[in-house]
Each structure stands twice: as C-alpha cells, then as structure tokens.
C-alpha cells in the first residue's frame, strides 16, 4: 500500500507541473495582462513601468523559467489584481468552498442514501414517486432553482439572506441548490446498486442463516452496494472543491469558483495557476482517499 501511495504522489507532482505549464502558456497567449490592469488613459510611461515591474517586458519563455524557478522555491507569484501572494488568496477562498462542499455533500448523503435504499429494496408507489422526483431534481437547472429560492425566501418572505457569507442562514440556500442535484444522483446510484446486490446469492445466504432483515441490508448488502456511491461522493467533493461557479455567483459566495473565474477574466495568471495547482493536488488526494476507502469497504481489494 505504501508503494502505491508513493507512486500516486509522484504522479500528482508530474500532473501538477504539466497543468501549471499549460495554464501559464494558455493564459498568456490570450494577451498581455497589463492592459487589463492599467486605466485606459494610462500614458506610455505608466504602461512601460508596470510591464517592467511585473517582468512582462521579458520574452515569454524567460518569464516561464522565472516563474517555475520561483514556484519550485515555494513562491507561487503575486496576484496582479490584489498585489498579494497568490497562494494567500487561494487559501482565503478555500474555507468558504470547503464549508459549502461539506454541507452540500452532507445534505446529499443524508437525503440520497436513505432514498436510494428505500427505492432499491421496495417497488411500488413510493418507489415511483421518489424516482419521478429524482428525475425532476436532476433536470432542474441549479441557476433557476437558486434564483427562484432567492425570489421566494429572500425577496418575498425575507426569511433568508439573498447571498454572501457570514451565518448559518447564508449557508442554507446555496447548500440546497448544490445538494439538490447531487442528492438525486446519489439516490439513483444507491438505488441501482442496492437493488442489484439485493438479488445476489450472498444476500439469500445471509437470510437463510436467519439474520434480521436490517442486518442483511446494513451489514451485508450496503457494504458492497456503497462502492459506487463512495466513488460518486469522492468525485463530487473534488469537483465542488474546485469551485462551483454558478452557485457561488448567484449567492455571492466568496469561494474558489468565483476567484478562478474573476482571475481568468483579469488574466491574473499567478492566482489561476495557484488555484489550478491546488485543485490538481486536492483531486489526486481525494482519489487516493477514495482508493483507500475501497480497500476499507472491500477487504478483497489490494493495491500491492
């Protein structure tokens, strides 16, 4: 297992270096950031001073070498927009995104797994109603849901704040909007997995042994049936931690998604690279954790 983890970590470093290089060249090929930073009536002197200070007057490859050298020494550059270390901005945005991700995933699991189990082991009216609701939930665009919730709960009834971050009330609507879609996906995956495993022979054997139905379901069936759910949760956490642009934008949530989009618009490439590096590392870590969780759930899985 240790060798597997080391291999994965080395692979992560390679991916991060590739991603950083790609982002650097792609974002710089779209134009010189200077012109987005200086006012439109800036004189030639002001423009030249700024380009010199930022090193943009050097050849692009030379800028790349400088950037990578600094990166290797832990300096991810200074934000062109905020004039602050880029990594600090990513670290500042991270708690907001982590909070939203955790609350949305908690909601999704709390709603999605029980509903998936119910519909997986029962067929009939309730199953059909839940399945219809799940299909509906997957079809509802989250920007529409968000705007409708703001209109009803904030503008009409003044129950919840329209956006921003600060209290538990600010968290409710973005959590529901994000969790709405994910919980429906978890419900579907749980349902299909549970119904598949519920028909298998080892479940019949467990029943034949005289075990209680709840024990059969929770200890035998779910342990196997949850594998695809774990994969889905892992992937969703990774995606959410990279920022959910629409939800963060609608609710003015100061997370990673908004930071990345604004930085791309401003060609603030040190921040974009810092964020991308973080996302690459985090995705790899989550994938690693997911693989370890597989081994924990299913002891037959070995990585050696």
């Amino acid at each position: 297992m240790l060798a597997f983890i080391i291999r994965r970590l080395l692979f992560t470093v390679l991916i991060a270096l590739f991603a950083i290089s790609a982002v650097f060249f792609i974002i710089r090929m779209t134009g010189d950031p200077t012109y987005l930073m200086v006012p439109m009536d800036a004189s030639k002197t002001v423009i030249e001073n700024f380009r010199h200070k930022m090193g943009f007057d050097k050849p692009l490859f030379s800028q790349y070498v400088d950037y990578m050298w600094n990166f290797m020494h832990g300096d991810l550059g200074t934000s062109l927009r905020y004039n602050e270390p880029a990594l600090n901005l990513v670290i500042e945005a991270l708690p907001a995104t982590a909070l939203l991700t955790l609350s949305a995933m908690a909601m999704s699991i709390v709603i999605g797994v029980p509903l998936g189990i119910i519909t997986g082991i029962r067929s009939g009216g309730l199953d059909r109603v839940i399945t219809a609701l799940v299909v509906l939930a997957q079809g509802v665009p989250n920007f529409w849901l968000g705007l409708m919730m703001i209109f009803v709960f904030s503008v009409k009834f003044h129950i919840l704040p329209t956006g921003g971050m600060g209290s538990i009330k600010h968290l409710i609507m973005p959590t529901i909007v994000m969790g709405f879609y994910t919980s429906s996906r978890i419900t579907r995956v749980t349902k299909s997995s549970v119904s598949e495993h519920f028909q298998k022979e080892y479940i019949q054997t467990a029943r034949a042994k005289g075990l209680r139905e709840s024990t059969v379901l929770l200890k035998h069936c779910l342990r196997n049936a949850l594998m695809p759910v774990v994969t889905l949760v892992g992937l969703s956490v990774g995606i959410y931690m990279g920022g959910v642009v629409i939800t963060e934008t609608i609710f003015s949530w100061p997370g990673m998604g908004r930071l990345i989009v604004q930085s791309i618009e401003m060609r603030d490439f040190p921040v974009v690279i810092a964020a991308v590096s973080f996302i690459v590392v985090m995705f790899s870590f989550i994938n690693l954790m997911t693989d370890i969780a597989y081994a924990w759930i299913d002891p037959r899985i070995r990585y050696d």
Binding site: Y35, T45, N49, R258
Partner: protein
Amino acid sequence: MFSRIKTSWKLVGVMLSILVILPLSTGSAADRDTLTVGINADMRTPELITTMDQTSDKILLFHIYEPLIARNRQMVAEPWLAETLEPSGEVSWKLTLRKGIKFHNGAELTADDVKYTLEWILNPKNASMRLSRIELLEKIEKTGKYELNLITKKPFPVLPVSLGNISIIPKGMTPKELAKNPIGTGPYRFKEWKKERRIVLTRFDDYWGNAPYFKTLRFLIRPEMGARLSALLAGEVDMIPDVPVEMVPRVNANRETEIRTVPAGRSIGLYFNLRGDPDSVFHDIRMRKAFNYAVNVREITKHILGGFATPTGPLVPMNRHHYPEHSAYPYDPEKAVELIKRAGYKPEELHFTLHSPKGRYLKDFEASQAIGTQLGKIGIKVDVVADEWGHHLELMKKCNKELSIYINGRGERTFEGSMMQHWFKSGMPWTCFSDEEIDQAIDRAMPIVDPDKRERAMMLLEGLIWDKAPWVFLWAQNSIWGVKSDIDWSPWADEIPRLATASRK
C-alpha cells in the same frame, strides 16, 4: 429497519422546522446609522497610490482618502484639502493647505505629506498607475508648513483637476503599510475588509469637514447583477450601482426603492481603425461621415437604452467646453448613401465586422446589433461580434487589420476636455485613429493656461473633431443607481458616490 427510516423522516422534519422558525430578520440593511451598498466588484487594495481602478475609487475616495482638489456637482474643480491652488507663473503653481486637518492616526496634514505623496507617485520605480495624472509635474518645493510650489515641465492647465485623482497619504507610509492599515484624512476610517465579502468603514470623529450622517458604511460585494438587485429588493442593501436598463421598471415598481440617475462622463463611440489598416475605406472622411448619418442614435438611446443616454455631438456633454454649433449628427440614410457613392464605393459591396464588448457598457452588444441592422438598411453588410473584454482590449492595443470598426467607451476624468488627447492623438495607447491636423490642434490647445484662450482653443478643437468624424458619435451613458427611497442621496457624474453626503430621511 423501517422504524429507523421513520426516525430519519422525523429527523428531516425537525430540520425543516428549524428552517421555518429561523429568525425572520435576514440581516437587512442594518440600523439607521449604517448605509449598506451592494457593489459589483471588490477593491484591489485599500490604497489609492499604486493602483487605479474605478471600484477602488468608488469605495475609498472621499471616504477614507481625500485629494487636494475636488469636483463639485457640476464637475468644476474646487479646493478640498488645499485652501488655494493658483498659477504663479507659466510652469509653477502655489499651493496652500487648509490648517488643522488630521489623518486617522492623529497626525496633522502638512506640506511634507503632500510632497511625499506626489514624489512617491512620480518615482518611476514605484510604477504607480496614477502617474499619468501628474506626469508633467517636475518638482515639488516645500515653502512653509502648509505651503508648496509645484513646478511643471511645461504649462499644465489641468493640474487642479488632475490632482483630484491623487489621494494624500501620511509621510513615510508605503502602499504596503497602507494596504494593511489604510490611513487618510477622510470622513470614514477603515474598520474591516473581508475579501470578496465586505468592506466596513466607520465615522472618523476628528474629521475636518461636515460630519457624515451615517456612522458606518458597509460595502457588500455582489458581482452578479441578479444577486445585487435581489439584495436591494429584499432590503438587505440601501443602494446598488449599474442597474441594467431592463431592470429599471422592477426597481421603480417596488414601493421602497427607486432609480436615481445622472449623465456620466463616459462617451461611447463607434471607432474606425486607421492606424493599423492603410487600406481602410475610412481614411476617406466622406465614409466616416456617411456612417455618422447612417446610424440612428436617437432611436437606439430611446428604445434600447431606455432614455438613459444622451446622443453625443459634443464629445462629453458634461464637459465645460463645447463647440456650440455642433449637436449630434442627424439620421439621414440618403445622405449617407450619397457620401459613400461620392467616395467611390457602393454600399452593397461593403462588408465589415463590428467588434463589440458585451456587458462592459450599458446594453453595448444589443446597441451594436442595432447599429449593424441600421447599416444593413442602406446595404452595408455588418457582422457583429461580441468580444471578451480582455480580447477587445488586445485588439484595440494592436490596431491591426483584424480590427476594422469597433465599439468603445472612454471616460472623461478631467471634465475639461483634456482626455481628447488620449482619445484622438496619434500613437496614444488604445487609439487607432491618426490625423495630423487634429494632432496639431491638440498640441496647440492643451498647454494654454489662460482660461478664456483655453476655452476658445478647446472649442475649436472639439469642432474640428466633430467635422473630421474620427468615430461615429454615439452617446454618453447615464450612471444608474437603484436606491432605497428613504436615502437622501443622488449619484455623481464622475461615478464616485461620495457617501458622506448621504443621509436617511
């Protein structure tokens, strides 16, 4: 097992009940002593010495920091921290400061602070974006505790208004220190900045001028228009800038909110690229005039911009000097066709790509599409392309053949017409126009210090620009704010809100 499921449902029920019984207040625009503004972007840094962007100015200028000279409602320069600023020669000005003004750290404002601030900006090593404003300053001499002489490289008649964009900071403080602990002389002092969330300022009790009504100013960052508007309608904020035209009826329909607007110093034009395209048909003045006659500006300002824009003939309607005989070009498609034919072209053989920003200016892309349609009515084929703003800037910077005609907006920061050199002088950044006669007229008019002579020269210059039609004169857009009805405040033409003048009815 199903008993467990029932328990889960109970749990869900309890959670839903908690949602319902949450306190009804939603952090609405706080108490009467707090003014909350829903603003569309965060500031870059809490200092106004290095950077220069409109949002940071909106949040900080006249709140935390103050300039030597300020503009009044009519955009005429008036002394602010300065008591007087008068020319004492062709290239020298005598500046006297008001006495008894205190910084937020308790220190008194003296000539040392002014000298330090101006010299810091003038130092090229500091790469200050404010340098453009005072580039012609050569030397700052302290002549007394409150007096200075400002020596310029050449005559600099718009020095007073140019100083309106320079905030005075305490001697010895660096922008880095100011970014952590902003200190100015303004009516509010810095309290809190949660990046991308909010900025909070509190009243400065030792302020030298009239004490502001509101004890606290809160700026909530709401980049998305829908979110900003919802916050206003829900009563969470007292005012929001840049309300889109189509949302105006919704704001006015709400009992507690209304629209307040003012013509702003930002002119939108349809530009021709002459510099980068030697074969452009627009080197012929008749073609440029033809386009001016072919675009029905009044129809666009009325129906697309909802009346929140003024057709331009004068470059900036709020400017002090205008060539009196020139108003907007009339809509005359027949004359346009005739001019095109006289220039040796057939309208149906002309084909252009119109580059337009999208969302940068009031209904910019929709208006560009209307312009394309109007030009199409006389047979000219126009493809309208929406550019991402960074790409649009890049095209304007390069001025190469890829760019033929394009929409752009330029802000007038002096309201004295001095921006004409940035807009039309050959070789200026973002200027794809070039005309020797205009260049000479600009060089003649800009250095004149005598007010009467300057006014005459500026009017002649504006007249020449009108006649040469370097762009299709379109409109000057309004600044549109959504404001709660109980707030006594109206917007300013330079788009700096000056919220110390606001109060609650």
